[in-house]
């Protein structure tokens, strides 16, 4: 249990530090990297909560797919050398108000619970503790109890992907790539 405690505080510090760094760092590339650190720390926290599958999915989907695209885009076109636009006017004025409101809400929530749960060991694992959070259990739930939301979500993602392709195509008017296209370097395909 001591090990888990140590690991928890390391991961928690990583999660908070990463999240803060995302906002504070000036270079967008480093911001993205900080977000990756944050997601990795979250995965460790999931692991500590016996959610192995979620932890792996977090790494594979977020760190491995979503953030890869972010890194890709930022390092290609994001202008990693120029700092993010300082902004000004309205966003500048509104930001403290929203931040203050969020602080009040969080403070109320924390004060309301009076942090009594800190003294307990948290919620008990269900009786079949060993199967809890395994891919088997999650898969069964996804294909029985939560089938409809699962399918709706996948449908939504498909629609979004198709829409993205359609929009990108219309704006740029991509030509069909052939072996003679200049993009392939002087018709390499012919030789």
């Amino acid at each position: 249990m001591v090990l888990q405690g140590i690991l928890f505080f390391i991961a928690a510090a990583g999660a908070i530090g990463g999240a803060v760094a995302v906002v504070l760092l000036r270079n967008p590339f480093f911001s993205v990297l900080a977000l990756v650190c944050h997601l990795f720390a979250l995965a460790v926290l999931f692991l500590l909560l016996y959610a192995q599958f979620i932890a792996a999915a977090q790494l594979i989907v977020y760190a491995g797919a979503v953030m890869v695209l972010y890194v890709f885009v930022v390092s290609y076109v994001g202008g990693a050398d120029e700092p993010i636009d300082e902004g000004g006017g309205a966003p500048r004025a509104l930001a403290p108000i929203f931040a203050g409101a969020l602080l009040v809400v969080l403070a109320l929530a924390l004060a309301g619970s009076a942090l009594t749960l800190l003294d307990t060991n948290g919620a008990k694992l269900p009786d079949n503790g060993n199967a809890y959070g395994t891919p088997e259990q999650i898969g069964e739930l996804l294909l029985t109890k939560y089938l409809l939301p699962f399918e709706v979500a996948s449908f939504l993602l498909t629609v979004a992907a198709v829409c993205a392709v359609v929009l990108a195509r219309r704006r740029r008017g991509l030509e069909e790539l052939t072996d003679d296209s200049p993009l392939l370097g002087e018709g390499l395909g012919k030789r």
């Binding site: 090990l3 192995q52 599958f53 594979i60 491995g64 290609y76 990693a80 060993n130």
Partner: protein, 343 residues
């Protein structure tokens, strides 16, 4: 502390002392790590033979100490960081690559649980047996990408950057195919746990019913490890050496080490999923040796292909991955699903 508390990372219901776990972990790491110089030497020898020359034969008998002096040479080189480089990330990138490669060794099963084995102790012949099984490997594979990507970006060189970009696109495309190729095996065995999958192959190995999956996995493995004919990431004719162009000395050695470690780990996953893991003729204690032999056969196949096939062009690589491998893996998946339910 028994491992029922320890994050459920070990088989539950089989009591192993912490010491046994520590010793076995060290042993597995030691064996796998020492395979790397062997693979390096064998690869250079085999490549030499394929190309009608001797390969290294000066240091030690049959050139056997060549990897040793290679590593000594790299370790004694100047510790060099380019002026344009982003220093911290430049330093940390090879560490990420190496860390993820080594972390994945943990799930390779070299044998089953052993009760009353050597010295009358209970022990397991694998690092950990996680319920998420091969997803563990993919999770670390996802992080491994950052080693290459950051290495290429932080070098502050165009060749490195382009190599890193290629690696990004290549890894994303082929990880999909690699994942899909393994799902067939997972459906047939009904579990993700690596040891359970090997246990299910007691009769026939999964390479027979899942031959298509095995082929897709092999091809994807070449791409995942950036090996010829998919080594566009470090295509020497176009990119000098890709993401490692600016690296030298021990950092370069770390990247090389990670690459070969990844080869060994992916071969190990292939052996576990398709080639029956520790099953083979002979008594049970031969199990780990069978695993090593099978891994070596796959590695030799890697080298054979490297010596035989020329490098693909970049668009060929992409269209091969997306238009052939992924549809093939999907069809294999659907056929397997129908057969698993109705046969």
């Amino acid at each position: 502390m028994s491992h029922s508390v320890a994050l459920q990372l070990a088989t539950v219901g089989f009591e192993v002392s912490v010491w046994a776990q520590v010793i076995v972990s060290f042993l597995i790491f030691f064996v796998v790590f020492n395979m790397i110089p062997m693979v390096l030497l064998v690869e250079r020898k085999v490549l030499g033979r394929f190309q009608g020359r001797y390969g290294p034969n000066r240091v030690g008998p049959f050139g056997m100490f060549q990897p040793l002096v290679d590593i000594a040479k790299l370790a004694s080189k100047e510790d060099f960081i380019p002026r344009n480089a982003s220093k911290m990330i430049f330093i940390i990138a090879p560490v990420i690559s190496l860390f993820t490669a080594i972390a994945t060794i943990a799930i390779l099963p070299f044998g089953n649980t052993v009760e009353d084995g050597l010295f009358g102790a209970n022990y397991t012949l694998y690092g950990i047996d996680v319920s998420i099984g091969v997803l563990y490997a993919f999770a670390f594979g996802a992080i491994a990408f950052y080693g290459l990507m950051l290495g290429g970006w932080a070098s502050g060189s165009k060749y490195s950057f382009l190599g890193a970009m290629r690696s990004a696109a290549q890894l994303i495309s082929y990880e999909l195919a690699a994942g899909l190729s393994l799902v067939g095996v997972i459906m047939m065995s009904g579990t993700l746990s690596m040891t359970e999958i090997v246990n299910k192959q007691d009769g026939t190995w999964f390479i027979i019913p899942q031959f298509v999956g095995f082929l897709v996995f092999l091809v994807a493995a070449f791409a995942e490890t950036n090996r010829a004919p998919f080594d566009l990431v470090e295509a020497d004719a176009e990119l000098v050496a890709g993401y490692q162009t600016e690296y030298g000395g021990i950092r370069f050695a770390a990247f090389m080490l990670a690459e070969y470690m990844n080869m060994i780990v992916l071969s190990g996953i292939g052996v576990t999923m398709f080639l029956g893991g520790w099953h083979g003729p002979g008594p049970d204690w031969l199990g780990p040796i069978w695993v090593l032999v099978k891994i070596f056969i796959l590695l030799l196949f890697f080298m054979w292909i490297r010596a035989t096939l020329p490098r693909l062009r970049y668009d060929q690589l992409m269209s091969f991955g997306w238009k052939i491998l992924i549809p093939l893996a999907t069809i294999n998946l659907m056929v397997t699903a129908v057969l698993v339910v109705y046969a």
